[in-house]
Amino acid sequence: MSADPSIPPAALSGEVRLPEKLADVEPVRSVRTPIRLEYDFIPGSASSGYLNAFADRKILGQRSPVDGAVFVPPRGVDPRHGAATPDYVELPDTGHVGGFCVTRLPIPGRDDLEIPYVSAWIHLDGADIGFLGLVAGIDTSEVRMGMRVRAVWKPDDQLGRTAENILYWEPTGEPDIPVTAAGTNAWHAKQAAESGEQAAGEEG
Protein backbone atom coordinates (compact mmCIF):
# COMPACT_ATOMS: atom_id res chain seq x y z
CA MET A 1 0.00 0.00 0.00
CA SER A 2 1.38 3.38 -0.99
CA ALA A 3 1.72 6.03 1.69
CA ASP A 4 1.94 8.74 -0.96
CA PRO A 5 -1.27 10.79 -0.56
CA SER A 6 -1.03 12.05 -4.15
CA ILE A 7 -1.68 8.51 -5.44
CA PRO A 8 -5.44 7.77 -5.37
CA PRO A 9 -6.69 4.56 -3.76
CA ALA A 10 -7.01 1.57 -6.06
CA ALA A 11 -10.80 1.79 -6.04
CA LEU A 12 -10.58 5.15 -7.80
CA SER A 13 -7.70 4.35 -10.14
CA GLY A 14 -9.53 1.93 -12.43
CA GLU A 15 -7.50 -1.04 -11.22
CA VAL A 16 -10.45 -2.74 -9.55
CA ARG A 17 -10.45 -6.42 -10.45
CA LEU A 18 -13.91 -7.93 -10.95
CA PRO A 19 -14.71 -11.63 -10.80
CA GLU A 20 -14.50 -13.36 -14.17
CA LYS A 21 -18.23 -13.75 -14.60
CA LEU A 22 -18.80 -9.99 -14.15
CA ALA A 23 -16.16 -9.05 -16.72
CA ASP A 24 -18.64 -8.19 -19.51
CA VAL A 25 -21.43 -6.83 -17.30
CA GLU A 26 -22.17 -3.17 -17.73
CA PRO A 27 -20.86 -1.35 -14.65
CA VAL A 28 -23.29 0.46 -12.36
CA ARG A 29 -22.83 4.17 -12.93
CA SER A 30 -25.52 5.52 -10.62
CA VAL A 31 -28.23 4.42 -8.22
CA ARG A 32 -31.45 6.23 -7.39
CA THR A 33 -32.56 6.09 -3.79
CA PRO A 34 -35.58 8.40 -3.47
CA ILE A 35 -36.18 9.92 -0.06
CA ARG A 36 -39.51 11.29 1.09
CA LEU A 37 -40.18 12.54 4.61
CA GLU A 38 -43.23 14.54 5.66
CA TYR A 39 -43.33 17.13 8.41
CA ASP A 40 -45.94 19.30 10.04
CA PHE A 41 -44.37 22.74 10.15
CA ILE A 42 -44.67 24.43 13.54
CA PRO A 43 -44.28 28.19 13.16
CA GLY A 44 -43.85 28.79 16.88
CA SER A 45 -45.20 31.49 19.12
CA ALA A 46 -43.78 34.65 17.53
CA SER A 47 -44.46 33.63 13.94
CA SER A 48 -47.98 32.47 14.83
CA GLY A 49 -48.76 35.93 16.21
CA TYR A 50 -47.29 37.52 13.07
CA LEU A 51 -49.18 35.28 10.64
CA ASN A 52 -52.49 35.45 12.51
CA ALA A 53 -52.36 39.26 12.50
CA PHE A 54 -52.02 39.31 8.71
CA ALA A 55 -55.61 38.05 8.49
CA ASP A 56 -56.65 41.40 10.04
CA ARG A 57 -54.39 43.42 7.70
CA LYS A 58 -51.98 44.02 10.53
CA ILE A 59 -48.18 43.77 10.56
CA LEU A 60 -46.71 42.82 13.93
CA GLY A 61 -43.14 43.22 15.10
CA GLN A 62 -41.53 42.59 18.47
CA ARG A 63 -39.62 44.97 20.71
CA SER A 64 -36.23 44.17 22.23
CA PRO A 65 -36.32 44.33 26.03
CA VAL A 66 -32.66 45.41 25.93
CA ASP A 67 -32.78 48.63 23.89
CA GLY A 68 -36.29 48.86 22.43
CA ALA A 69 -35.25 47.96 18.87
CA VAL A 70 -38.23 46.74 16.82
CA PHE A 71 -37.83 43.59 14.72
CA VAL A 72 -40.12 42.48 11.91
CA PRO A 73 -40.89 39.68 11.26
CA PRO A 74 -40.76 38.75 14.94
CA ARG A 75 -38.79 35.64 15.91
CA GLY A 76 -39.32 35.63 19.64
CA VAL A 77 -35.79 36.75 20.39
CA ASP A 78 -33.41 39.67 20.05
CA PRO A 79 -30.64 37.77 18.24
CA ARG A 80 -27.97 40.23 19.37
CA HIS A 81 -28.51 39.41 23.03
CA GLY A 82 -30.34 36.09 23.09
CA ALA A 83 -33.12 37.89 24.97
CA ALA A 84 -36.76 36.82 24.67
CA THR A 85 -39.05 39.41 23.04
CA PRO A 86 -42.56 38.80 24.37
CA ASP A 87 -43.90 42.30 23.51
CA TYR A 88 -45.58 42.77 20.13
CA VAL A 89 -45.67 46.12 18.34
CA GLU A 90 -48.24 46.90 15.65
CA LEU A 91 -46.53 48.56 12.72
CA PRO A 92 -47.99 50.73 9.93
CA ASP A 93 -48.00 49.45 6.34
CA THR A 94 -45.83 52.35 5.21
CA GLY A 95 -42.06 52.63 5.07
CA HIS A 96 -39.19 53.06 2.67
CA VAL A 97 -36.91 51.06 0.42
CA GLY A 98 -33.71 50.28 2.33
CA GLY A 99 -32.07 48.40 -0.53
CA PHE A 100 -33.23 46.67 -3.71
CA CYS A 101 -32.29 44.61 -6.72
CA VAL A 102 -33.77 44.30 -10.20
CA THR A 103 -34.14 40.72 -11.41
CA ARG A 104 -34.35 39.99 -15.12
CA LEU A 105 -34.51 36.18 -14.95
CA PRO A 106 -37.70 34.21 -14.25
CA ILE A 107 -37.98 32.08 -11.08
CA PRO A 108 -39.15 28.50 -11.67
CA GLY A 109 -42.64 28.12 -10.21
CA ARG A 110 -43.35 31.84 -10.06
CA ASP A 111 -45.05 32.45 -13.38
CA ASP A 112 -47.00 35.30 -11.76
CA LEU A 113 -43.83 37.37 -11.52
CA GLU A 114 -43.35 39.49 -14.61
CA ILE A 115 -39.71 40.22 -15.32
CA PRO A 116 -38.01 42.50 -14.68
CA TYR A 117 -39.19 42.74 -11.06
CA VAL A 118 -37.81 44.49 -7.98
CA SER A 119 -37.10 42.76 -4.66
CA ALA A 120 -36.48 45.19 -1.84
CA TRP A 121 -35.76 45.44 1.84
CA ILE A 122 -38.79 47.29 3.11
CA HIS A 123 -38.12 49.28 6.27
CA LEU A 124 -41.45 49.96 7.94
CA ASP A 125 -41.92 53.20 9.82
CA GLY A 126 -41.09 52.37 13.42
CA ALA A 127 -39.13 49.18 12.65
CA ASP A 128 -35.36 48.94 13.06
CA ILE A 129 -34.73 46.22 10.51
CA GLY A 130 -36.12 45.57 7.04
CA PHE A 131 -38.00 42.64 5.54
CA LEU A 132 -38.34 41.38 2.01
CA GLY A 133 -41.02 42.58 -0.39
CA LEU A 134 -41.75 43.27 -4.06
CA VAL A 135 -41.84 46.85 -5.32
CA ALA A 136 -44.21 47.55 -8.24
CA GLY A 137 -46.37 50.30 -9.65
CA ILE A 138 -43.27 52.12 -10.88
CA ASP A 139 -40.75 51.65 -13.67
CA THR A 140 -37.86 49.52 -12.38
CA SER A 141 -35.38 52.21 -13.39
CA GLU A 142 -37.13 54.67 -11.04
CA VAL A 143 -36.75 52.59 -7.85
CA ARG A 144 -34.21 54.05 -5.40
CA MET A 145 -32.98 53.71 -1.84
CA GLY A 146 -34.95 55.94 0.49
CA MET A 147 -38.09 55.88 -1.69
CA ARG A 148 -41.28 55.97 0.41
CA VAL A 149 -43.66 53.03 -0.14
CA ARG A 150 -46.97 51.65 1.11
CA ALA A 151 -48.38 48.11 1.03
CA VAL A 152 -50.91 47.07 -1.62
CA TRP A 153 -53.07 44.44 0.04
CA LYS A 154 -55.22 41.71 -1.40
CA PRO A 155 -58.96 42.45 -1.24
CA ASP A 156 -60.39 41.89 2.26
CA ASP A 157 -62.31 38.78 1.23
CA GLN A 158 -59.05 37.13 0.08
CA LEU A 159 -57.02 37.78 3.24
CA GLY A 160 -55.46 34.74 4.90
CA ARG A 161 -53.01 34.12 7.72
CA THR A 162 -50.08 34.72 5.41
CA ALA A 163 -47.55 37.36 4.37
CA GLU A 164 -48.83 36.79 0.82
CA ASN A 165 -51.65 39.19 1.77
CA ILE A 166 -49.33 41.99 0.66
CA LEU A 167 -49.21 41.85 -3.12
CA TYR A 168 -46.42 44.40 -3.43
CA TRP A 169 -45.24 47.80 -2.25
CA GLU A 170 -45.94 50.92 -4.28
CA PRO A 171 -44.50 54.44 -4.11
CA THR A 172 -46.43 56.91 -1.97
CA GLY A 173 -45.10 59.92 -3.87
CA GLU A 174 -43.78 61.50 -0.66
CA PRO A 175 -40.26 62.99 -0.72
CA ASP A 176 -37.46 60.39 -0.36
CA ILE A 177 -35.61 60.09 2.90
CA PRO A 178 -31.83 60.67 2.59
CA VAL A 179 -29.80 57.59 1.75
CA THR A 180 -27.70 58.17 4.86
CA ALA A 181 -30.85 57.59 6.92
CA ALA A 182 -32.22 54.75 4.77
CA GLY A 183 -32.23 51.06 5.59
CA THR A 184 -30.07 50.03 8.52
CA ASN A 185 -27.96 53.20 8.17
CA ALA A 186 -30.26 55.11 10.49
CA TRP A 187 -30.30 52.29 13.04
CA HIS A 188 -26.55 51.81 13.02
CA ALA A 189 -26.02 55.56 13.34
CA LYS A 190 -28.42 55.61 16.30
CA GLN A 191 -26.66 52.67 17.96
CA ALA A 192 -23.25 54.23 17.44
CA ALA A 193 -24.49 57.49 18.94
CA GLU A 194 -26.01 55.67 21.92
CA SER A 195 -22.80 53.81 22.64
CA GLY A 196 -20.98 57.14 22.67
CA GLU A 197 -19.06 56.49 19.52
CA GLN A 198 -18.75 58.78 16.55
CA ALA A 199 -21.73 58.16 14.25
CA ALA A 200 -19.95 56.64 11.30
CA GLY A 201 -21.06 58.21 8.06
CA GLU A 202 -18.75 56.25 5.73
CA GLU A 203 -21.38 53.63 4.98
CA GLY A 204 -23.76 56.20 3.52
Binding site: I35, V77, P79, G82
Partner: protein, 352 residues
Amino acid sequence: MTRDIAVVSVAQSQEKALTHTTEVELMVPIINEARGAVGFTQDDIGFTCSGSSDFLAGQAFSFVHTLDAVGAVPPISESHVEMDGAWALYESWVKLQIGGIDTALVYSYGKSSPGSLRDVLSTQLDPYYLGPLWPDAFAMAALQARIMLESGVVNEQRLAEIAVRSLNGAADNPLAVRSSADATVDSVLAEEPIADPLRPSDCAASADGGVAVVLAAGDRARELCERPAWIRGIDHRIDPHQPGVRDLTRAPSARKAAVEAGAGNDRLDAAELAAPFTTQEHILEAELGLGSDTAVNATGGALAGHTMMAAGLMRIADAARQIHDGRADRVLGHAASGLFLQQNLVCVMEGE
Protein backbone atom coordinates in the same frame (compact mmCIF):
# COMPACT_ATOMS: atom_id res chain seq x y z
CA MET B 1 -0.86 17.17 30.76
CA THR B 2 -4.57 17.83 30.76
CA ARG B 3 -6.32 20.83 32.27
CA ASP B 4 -8.94 20.29 34.93
CA ILE B 5 -12.30 21.12 33.39
CA ALA B 6 -15.67 20.92 35.10
CA VAL B 7 -19.36 21.17 34.39
CA VAL B 8 -20.37 24.18 36.51
CA SER B 9 -23.96 24.74 35.42
CA VAL B 10 -26.73 22.83 33.68
CA ALA B 11 -30.28 23.62 32.54
CA GLN B 12 -32.75 21.53 30.62
CA SER B 13 -36.33 21.24 29.52
CA GLN B 14 -38.24 18.36 28.00
CA GLU B 15 -41.83 17.59 27.08
CA LYS B 16 -43.78 15.22 24.91
CA ALA B 17 -44.19 17.59 21.99
CA LEU B 18 -43.49 21.28 21.49
CA THR B 19 -46.55 22.23 19.48
CA HIS B 20 -46.26 26.01 19.79
CA THR B 21 -42.56 26.68 20.13
CA THR B 22 -39.67 26.95 17.69
CA GLU B 23 -36.24 25.64 18.58
CA VAL B 24 -35.14 29.23 19.12
CA GLU B 25 -38.00 29.96 21.51
CA LEU B 26 -37.23 26.69 23.31
CA MET B 27 -33.55 27.48 23.78
CA VAL B 28 -33.72 31.13 24.91
CA PRO B 29 -34.78 30.38 28.51
CA ILE B 30 -32.60 27.24 28.77
CA ILE B 31 -29.42 28.98 27.64
CA ASN B 32 -30.15 31.99 29.82
CA GLU B 33 -30.78 29.75 32.83
CA ALA B 34 -27.49 27.87 32.37
CA ARG B 35 -25.49 31.08 31.92
CA GLY B 36 -27.43 32.97 34.60
CA ALA B 37 -26.78 30.31 37.23
CA VAL B 38 -23.08 31.25 37.18
CA GLY B 39 -23.70 34.98 36.62
CA PHE B 40 -22.62 34.79 32.98
CA THR B 41 -23.66 36.67 29.89
CA GLN B 42 -22.40 35.57 26.48
CA ASP B 43 -19.47 37.96 26.92
CA ASP B 44 -18.11 35.62 29.61
CA ILE B 45 -18.13 32.58 27.28
CA GLY B 46 -14.91 31.68 25.46
CA PHE B 47 -16.35 29.08 23.10
CA THR B 48 -19.87 28.02 22.16
CA CYS B 49 -20.71 24.64 20.66
CA SER B 50 -24.03 23.00 19.82
CA GLY B 51 -25.39 19.69 18.59
CA SER B 52 -28.56 19.10 16.57
CA SER B 53 -29.91 17.70 13.33
CA ASP B 54 -32.02 19.51 10.75
CA PHE B 55 -33.61 16.19 9.72
CA LEU B 56 -35.74 16.15 12.88
CA ALA B 57 -37.92 19.17 12.20
CA GLY B 58 -37.25 19.14 8.47
CA GLN B 59 -35.96 22.68 8.56
CA ALA B 60 -32.71 23.51 6.81
CA PHE B 61 -30.09 25.33 8.89
CA SER B 62 -32.21 25.28 12.04
CA PHE B 63 -28.95 25.26 14.02
CA VAL B 64 -28.06 28.63 12.50
CA HIS B 65 -31.45 30.02 13.57
CA THR B 66 -30.87 28.70 17.05
CA LEU B 67 -27.79 30.85 17.43
CA ASP B 68 -30.31 33.69 17.82
CA ALA B 69 -30.98 32.23 21.27
CA VAL B 70 -27.31 32.65 22.19
CA GLY B 71 -26.83 36.28 21.19
CA ALA B 72 -23.96 36.01 18.72
CA VAL B 73 -23.41 39.77 18.30
CA PRO B 74 -20.61 40.86 18.32
CA PRO B 75 -19.41 37.69 16.56
CA ILE B 76 -18.54 34.78 18.86
CA SER B 77 -16.25 31.77 18.60
CA GLU B 78 -18.70 29.01 17.74
CA SER B 79 -19.06 25.53 16.31
CA HIS B 80 -21.77 22.95 15.65
CA VAL B 81 -21.82 19.17 15.37
CA GLU B 82 -24.48 17.11 13.60
CA MET B 83 -24.39 14.87 16.67
CA ASP B 84 -25.85 14.61 20.12
CA GLY B 85 -24.81 17.56 22.28
CA ALA B 86 -22.47 15.25 24.21
CA TRP B 87 -20.14 15.49 21.22
CA ALA B 88 -20.39 19.27 21.32
CA LEU B 89 -19.29 18.99 24.95
CA TYR B 90 -16.38 16.82 23.84
CA GLU B 91 -15.33 19.40 21.23
CA SER B 92 -15.57 22.14 23.86
CA TRP B 93 -13.48 20.06 26.28
CA VAL B 94 -10.80 19.67 23.60
CA LYS B 95 -10.95 23.40 22.86
CA LEU B 96 -10.49 24.16 26.57
CA GLN B 97 -7.56 21.72 26.69
CA ILE B 98 -5.84 23.66 23.91
CA GLY B 99 -6.04 26.71 26.14
CA GLY B 100 -6.51 30.41 25.59
CA ILE B 101 -10.05 30.23 26.98
CA ASP B 102 -11.42 29.18 30.37
CA THR B 103 -15.16 28.82 29.71
CA ALA B 104 -17.50 27.22 27.19
CA LEU B 105 -21.23 27.03 26.56
CA VAL B 106 -22.55 23.75 25.20
CA TYR B 107 -26.14 23.18 24.14
CA SER B 108 -28.27 20.87 22.09
CA TYR B 109 -31.90 20.36 21.28
CA GLY B 110 -34.24 18.13 19.38
CA LYS B 111 -37.75 18.71 18.13
CA SER B 112 -38.71 15.53 16.34
CA SER B 113 -42.48 15.86 16.82
CA PRO B 114 -43.04 17.62 13.44
CA GLY B 115 -41.94 14.43 11.63
CA SER B 116 -41.98 10.67 12.07
CA LEU B 117 -38.79 10.00 14.01
CA ARG B 118 -38.83 6.24 13.40
CA ASP B 119 -38.69 6.96 9.66
CA VAL B 120 -36.37 9.96 9.87
CA LEU B 121 -33.81 7.73 11.60
CA SER B 122 -33.63 5.55 8.49
CA THR B 123 -31.70 8.38 6.84
CA GLN B 124 -28.72 7.54 9.05
CA LEU B 125 -28.33 4.22 7.26
CA ASP B 126 -25.96 3.80 4.34
CA PRO B 127 -27.70 5.20 1.25
CA TYR B 128 -27.02 2.27 -1.12
CA TYR B 129 -27.90 -0.97 0.63
CA LEU B 130 -29.93 -0.38 3.79
CA GLY B 131 -31.35 3.11 3.36
CA PRO B 132 -33.47 2.35 0.27
CA LEU B 133 -35.24 -0.43 2.20
CA TRP B 134 -36.50 2.13 4.75
CA PRO B 135 -36.45 -0.11 7.80
CA ASP B 136 -37.92 1.99 10.60
CA ALA B 137 -36.08 2.44 13.88
CA PHE B 138 -38.39 0.17 15.93
CA ALA B 139 -38.10 -2.66 13.39
CA MET B 140 -34.32 -2.46 13.48
CA ALA B 141 -34.24 -2.42 17.28
CA ALA B 142 -36.63 -5.38 17.35
CA LEU B 143 -34.26 -7.28 15.09
CA GLN B 144 -31.50 -6.75 17.61
CA ALA B 145 -33.82 -7.67 20.50
CA ARG B 146 -34.72 -10.97 18.79
CA ILE B 147 -31.05 -11.86 18.36
CA MET B 148 -30.39 -11.03 22.02
CA LEU B 149 -33.32 -13.07 23.30
CA GLU B 150 -32.69 -16.09 21.07
CA SER B 151 -28.99 -16.16 21.92
CA GLY B 152 -29.74 -15.98 25.62
CA VAL B 153 -27.81 -12.81 26.50
CA VAL B 154 -31.00 -11.42 28.01
CA ASN B 155 -34.55 -12.58 28.75
CA GLU B 156 -37.91 -10.81 28.71
CA GLN B 157 -38.01 -10.72 32.50
CA ARG B 158 -34.74 -8.73 32.61
CA LEU B 159 -35.92 -6.30 29.89
CA ALA B 160 -39.14 -5.73 31.83
CA GLU B 161 -37.09 -5.04 34.99
CA ILE B 162 -35.17 -2.34 33.13
CA ALA B 163 -38.45 -0.85 31.88
CA VAL B 164 -39.89 -0.85 35.41
CA ARG B 165 -36.75 0.76 36.82
CA SER B 166 -37.26 3.63 34.37
CA LEU B 167 -41.02 3.93 34.86
CA ASN B 168 -40.80 3.91 38.67
CA GLY B 169 -37.69 6.13 38.83
CA ALA B 170 -39.27 8.73 36.56
CA ALA B 171 -42.32 9.13 38.79
CA ASP B 172 -40.80 12.11 40.62
CA ASN B 173 -38.85 13.48 37.66
CA PRO B 174 -40.54 16.55 36.15
CA LEU B 175 -38.44 16.19 32.97
CA ALA B 176 -39.72 12.68 32.28
CA VAL B 177 -42.50 12.31 29.73
CA ARG B 178 -43.35 8.72 30.66
CA SER B 179 -43.52 7.37 34.19
CA SER B 180 -45.56 5.08 36.38
CA ALA B 181 -45.12 4.56 40.09
CA ASP B 182 -47.31 1.46 39.86
CA ALA B 183 -45.61 -0.31 36.94
CA THR B 184 -44.45 -3.85 37.67
CA VAL B 185 -42.66 -6.52 35.67
CA ASP B 186 -46.01 -8.26 35.22
CA SER B 187 -47.71 -5.10 33.93
CA VAL B 188 -44.90 -4.52 31.43
CA LEU B 189 -44.92 -8.14 30.28
CA ALA B 190 -48.68 -7.84 29.77
CA GLU B 191 -48.18 -5.05 27.20
CA GLU B 192 -48.83 -5.94 23.58
CA PRO B 193 -45.57 -5.79 21.56
CA ILE B 194 -45.35 -2.93 19.04
CA ALA B 195 -42.40 -4.35 17.12
CA ASP B 196 -42.22 -7.96 18.29
CA PRO B 197 -40.48 -8.72 20.65
CA LEU B 198 -40.30 -5.08 21.81
CA ARG B 199 -43.13 -3.76 23.97
CA PRO B 200 -43.98 -0.05 24.29
CA SER B 201 -42.08 0.20 27.59
CA ASP B 202 -38.99 -1.28 25.91
CA CYS B 203 -38.82 1.73 23.59
CA ALA B 204 -37.84 5.17 24.86
CA ALA B 205 -40.65 7.69 25.06
CA SER B 206 -39.96 10.21 22.33
CA ALA B 207 -39.69 13.79 23.53
CA ASP B 208 -38.87 17.33 22.41
CA GLY B 209 -36.47 19.38 24.47
CA GLY B 210 -33.17 21.11 24.98
CA VAL B 211 -30.23 21.26 27.35
CA ALA B 212 -27.42 23.72 28.04
CA VAL B 213 -24.21 23.22 30.00
CA VAL B 214 -21.47 25.63 31.06
CA LEU B 215 -17.89 24.32 31.31
CA ALA B 216 -15.07 26.08 33.12
CA ALA B 217 -11.40 25.31 33.71
CA GLY B 218 -9.40 25.18 36.96
CA ASP B 219 -9.90 27.93 39.53
CA ARG B 220 -12.47 29.63 37.33
CA ALA B 221 -14.72 26.60 37.90
CA ARG B 222 -14.18 26.80 41.68
CA GLU B 223 -15.21 30.47 41.67
CA LEU B 224 -18.39 29.76 39.74
CA CYS B 225 -19.66 26.62 41.39
CA GLU B 226 -19.63 25.40 44.98
CA ARG B 227 -19.02 21.82 43.89
CA PRO B 228 -17.92 21.56 40.25
CA ALA B 229 -18.34 18.25 38.44
CA TRP B 230 -14.75 17.66 37.30
CA ILE B 231 -14.40 15.75 34.05
CA ARG B 232 -11.80 13.08 34.95
CA GLY B 233 -12.15 11.15 31.71
CA ILE B 234 -14.00 11.51 28.45
CA ASP B 235 -13.77 9.21 25.46
CA HIS B 236 -15.59 8.45 22.23
CA ARG B 237 -15.35 5.18 20.27
CA ILE B 238 -17.06 3.88 17.15
CA ASP B 239 -18.13 0.43 15.96
CA PRO B 240 -18.57 -0.31 12.24
CA HIS B 241 -21.45 1.44 10.48
CA GLN B 242 -22.49 -1.71 8.60
CA PRO B 243 -24.62 -3.70 11.08
CA GLY B 244 -23.99 -6.96 9.23
CA VAL B 245 -20.38 -7.11 10.37
CA ARG B 246 -21.25 -6.55 14.03
CA ASP B 247 -22.26 -8.80 16.90
CA LEU B 248 -25.49 -7.02 17.71
CA THR B 249 -25.56 -8.39 21.25
CA ARG B 250 -22.46 -6.34 22.06
CA ALA B 251 -21.17 -2.76 21.93
CA PRO B 252 -17.35 -3.01 22.02
CA SER B 253 -17.04 0.74 21.44
CA ALA B 254 -18.92 1.40 24.70
CA ARG B 255 -16.55 -0.88 26.60
CA LYS B 256 -13.49 0.73 25.04
CA ALA B 257 -14.76 4.26 25.74
CA ALA B 258 -15.43 3.36 29.38
CA VAL B 259 -11.93 1.90 29.78
CA GLU B 260 -10.28 4.90 28.18
CA ALA B 261 -12.35 7.30 30.31
CA GLY B 262 -11.26 5.42 33.41
CA ALA B 263 -14.78 4.45 34.45
CA GLY B 264 -13.63 1.35 36.32
CA ASN B 265 -10.78 3.00 38.22
CA ASP B 266 -12.95 3.66 41.24
CA ARG B 267 -16.46 3.14 42.56
CA LEU B 268 -19.22 4.83 40.52
CA ASP B 269 -22.13 6.17 42.54
CA ALA B 270 -24.37 6.76 39.58
CA ALA B 271 -24.52 6.18 35.84
CA GLU B 272 -26.83 7.95 33.41
CA LEU B 273 -27.17 6.02 30.16
CA ALA B 274 -28.64 7.28 26.90
CA ALA B 275 -30.10 4.00 25.70
CA PRO B 276 -33.19 4.34 23.50
CA PHE B 277 -34.26 0.72 24.18
CA THR B 278 -34.21 -1.59 27.22
CA THR B 279 -32.15 -4.06 25.18
CA GLN B 280 -29.47 -1.44 24.64
CA GLU B 281 -29.54 -0.38 28.29
CA HIS B 282 -28.83 -4.03 29.14
CA ILE B 283 -25.88 -4.15 26.72
CA LEU B 284 -24.48 -0.90 28.11
CA GLU B 285 -24.62 -2.02 31.73
CA ALA B 286 -22.52 -5.05 30.80
CA GLU B 287 -20.09 -3.23 28.51
CA LEU B 288 -19.52 -0.36 30.95
CA GLY B 289 -18.94 -2.83 33.78
CA LEU B 290 -21.57 -1.31 36.06
CA GLY B 291 -22.07 -3.18 39.31
CA SER B 292 -24.86 -3.30 41.84
CA ASP B 293 -23.29 -0.42 43.82
CA THR B 294 -23.96 1.98 40.91
CA ALA B 295 -27.40 3.58 40.62
CA VAL B 296 -28.29 3.31 36.93
CA ASN B 297 -30.77 5.81 35.46
CA ALA B 298 -32.28 6.39 38.89
CA THR B 299 -34.71 9.04 37.61
CA GLY B 300 -35.78 7.21 34.49
CA GLY B 301 -32.96 7.89 32.05
CA ALA B 302 -33.49 8.22 28.33
CA LEU B 303 -36.27 5.59 28.35
CA ALA B 304 -38.47 8.02 30.30
CA GLY B 305 -37.94 10.77 27.75
CA HIS B 306 -35.67 10.59 24.73
CA THR B 307 -34.90 13.88 23.02
CA MET B 308 -33.07 12.97 19.85
CA MET B 309 -29.70 14.82 19.63
CA ALA B 310 -29.90 15.94 23.27
CA ALA B 311 -30.43 12.70 25.21
CA GLY B 312 -26.70 12.19 25.73
CA LEU B 313 -25.91 15.72 26.88
CA MET B 314 -28.98 15.50 29.14
CA ARG B 315 -27.52 12.35 30.74
CA ILE B 316 -24.21 14.13 31.34
CA ALA B 317 -26.16 17.06 32.81
CA ASP B 318 -28.17 14.67 35.03
CA ALA B 319 -24.96 13.04 36.23
CA ALA B 320 -23.20 16.39 36.84
CA ARG B 321 -26.16 17.66 38.84
CA GLN B 322 -25.68 14.79 41.29
CA ILE B 323 -22.13 16.02 41.93
CA HIS B 324 -23.28 19.64 42.21
CA ASP B 325 -25.81 18.91 44.96
CA GLY B 326 -23.61 16.41 46.80
CA ARG B 327 -25.74 13.33 46.14
CA ALA B 328 -22.80 11.58 44.49
CA ASP B 329 -19.01 11.79 44.40
CA ARG B 330 -18.27 9.94 41.19
CA VAL B 331 -20.64 9.58 38.25
CA LEU B 332 -20.74 8.44 34.64
CA GLY B 333 -22.64 10.13 31.83
CA HIS B 334 -23.11 8.25 28.57
CA ALA B 335 -24.19 9.24 25.08
CA ALA B 336 -24.87 7.10 22.04
CA SER B 337 -25.29 7.78 18.37
CA GLY B 338 -26.20 5.74 15.33
CA LEU B 339 -27.85 2.39 14.86
CA PHE B 340 -27.50 -0.30 17.57
CA LEU B 341 -25.26 1.85 19.81
CA GLN B 342 -22.76 2.24 16.99
CA GLN B 343 -21.05 5.22 18.64
CA ASN B 344 -20.54 5.67 22.35
CA LEU B 345 -19.20 8.49 24.47
CA VAL B 346 -18.40 8.12 28.15
CA CYS B 347 -17.81 11.05 30.49
CA VAL B 348 -16.63 10.35 34.04
CA MET B 349 -17.05 13.18 36.54
CA GLU B 350 -16.02 13.61 40.19
CA GLY B 351 -16.57 16.05 43.00
CA GLU B 352 -13.69 17.33 45.13
